[in-house]
Symmetry: C2
Subunit: 359 residues, 2 copies
């Protein structure tokens, strides 16, 4: 059976502001030293398993030019433009419907466009095993990440065995998806050995996920069928436009995964990072001898453990510690690492003051 | 007797980098909320005592256009252009010689172009008294500042009485000029009540200072005479150019004041600030409720005791404390207040790397 990769690239992530903007979200930025953007890294990572013509991108209509520019190898018809953002359930359903129509059926690797993987080979082994499980039965497979510390910013997967657990080594039944915990709970999860981080990556057959959507989100299913019937007709665009707007804004986790039968997980320990804020740069990239990540024309004097992302100008830092500096043509951000979560207050402030060109 | 003001404006101060540059030194910057540049504030401060046509500026030839632009009320012939920088003794001598030639004799208020005064009225009272002393005798009068804390960055004046001390209230004999002390010594000075800060402001008659120069720096005196004789002649410019280059680079403090007879001091407590670094902005200007000085398009979130000097762009600070941020079109400085003295290392670095356009 054909294996496809479906890259979800509609996010408007604000957490890399001011480099990320509503017209240039995180997945289209380069955060690693190699200069490749997140979406390009995501696509290339799967090439040993999926050929370019079987890679799909679901994104907001506005971002199609960015996708075309950054991953020109992906065929234009594989770039699925959502008329409006409706969270991941409609996004995944739309891709599944297109893939079913084209291939009859196929395995879908459903992927975030803006996560990083340290060990690509281990990662591909995990995805290959997940694909095997998906092909064998009608299961929904989610990739869990073996937690390395009590992170409070992720959702967790409580996993175990039951009579339906596939007879493969390293495959488990999902008992429950749980929300972001507080620190005490996160520590319990970590120590119990029964929890994984929810990476938001899924593997299943198009037929398997569409079947669950039919049962659990019938309105979405019917809408997707209507769109599928119109494909190739003169009014395809108009139908997509009209029907997509009626879809509820629901995540695939909430809409399907938490309620469906036959949900399994494969724990991965290939080094996963959701690159959720500027602080991730210090985890992802090599630091200098003073613990700094420095990018651009920067002179550091007595500067330690800083993340400095330059723009066109000289940046001189003197005696600075534990600070994030991000310089762009129109905006400069200086944030203490410990206050990084408050960067969103700046964005709120800009929205309130109607300065949307800076957001 | 006529009173003149002589503003020394040849300094190349680097301590307000990156706003100050070799082609735009501190005296031509505005550091106060009113938008007036330091040299303009200096000139205007003396108007109750000295009319525009009696204000002189001695500056480097390169800065004449800046002076003309910022204080156009000063007559062009009062702007004395040094062909080359030779510290303050030649600068003061040059002005004294021009003033003696024009007026026969006159009181000179010799002033830094880049200091700030809080209480102008008290300041003018002090200067008026100094002018009286200068007229009465042949003395050299220096304005001392009553120290308010044990500053280690200033020179001090040890003062007292002797048989020559003028019989005016609040006028003292200078026993000794002393160099910048260490902290323990500065504390002793402060507690003794016998020391003043050396403000670098002087009051004397042109004839008095020229007489001391004749005795203590005869080569300088002869050179000044040669320049004076050529004034108005066809070769005046060439003589100035040739002779000025032969002058030694010596301060008026070292060349004259420390060695001369008849040196008195008048302590002032009118609120003086030499505005010696970016940190001065927090002393000079009103801070917001979080202790910040903010200038330009700035959003502060959880930011305390910072000095933020914006350029054209939005600056957002998050969780920042005790930090100086200065943004210009081509350069951005971010320095912890406690490391402000290391800003000069950035400038050294730029010079070494031959990036003089940024210095």
């Amino acid at each position: 059976m054909k294996t496809t990769a479906v890259i979800m690239a509609g996010g408007k992530g604000e957490r890399f502001w001011p480099k990320s903007r509503s017209n240039m979200p995180k997945q289209f930025l380069s955060l690693t030293g190699d200069g490749k953007t997140m979406i390009r890294l995501t696509a290339e990572r799967h090439l040993p398993m999926v050929s370019w013509e079987d890679i799909y991108v679901v994104t907001n209509r506005d971002y199609v030019p960015l996708v075309t520019e950054q991953v020109p190898e992906i065929p234009a018809e594989n770039i699925l433009a959502e008329p409006t953002a409706r969270n991941t359930a409609p996004c995944v359903g739309y891709a599944a419907s297109v893939i079913q129509q084209k291939y009859g059926d196929a395995v879908m690797l459903v992927l975030a466009s803006d996560h990083l993987i340290k060990n690509n080979r281990m990662y591909l082994d995990t995805m290959a095993q997940a694909a095997e499980i998906a092909i064998e039965g009608d299961s929904l497979c989610t990739v869990g990440i073996t937690p390395s510390y009590p992170e409070t910013g992720y959702g967790y997967i409580h996993f175990g065995y039951d009579e339906n657990t596939p007879k493969h080594r390293g495959v488990y039944t999902v008992k429950k998806f749980v929300e972001k915990p507080d620190l005490a709970t996160a520590k319990e999860y970590l120590n119990s050995g029964e929890y994984l981080w929810n990476s938001g990556m899924f593997v299943w057959k198009a037929s398997s996920i569409l079947d669950r959507i039919r049962k659990l989100m019938p309105d979405l299913y019917n809408g997707l069928s209507e769109i599928a019937e119109s494909r190739g007709e003169y009014d395809a665009e108009a139908v997509l436009e009209r029907v997509y707007r009626t879809f509820p804004s629901v995540s695939i986790d909430y809409g399907i995964m938490e309620k469906a039968e036959g949900v399994f997980t494969i724990p991965g320990s290939f080094g996963w990072d959701d690159a959720g804020s500027w602080l991730a740069l210090a985890r992802i990239n090599k630091t200098d001898e003073n613990g700094n990540i420095v990018n651009g024309d920067v002179i550091t004097i007595g500067t330690r453990d800083c993340i400095i992302v330059g723009g066109g100008r000289l940046i001189a830092t003197v005696g600075l510690e534990d600070t994030v500096v991000v310089d762009t043509d129109d905006t400069l951000l200086i944030a203490r690492k410990e206050s990084a979560q408050d960067i969103k207050k700046v964005i709120e402030n800009l929205k309130i003051c109607n300065r949307r060109s800076l957001v």
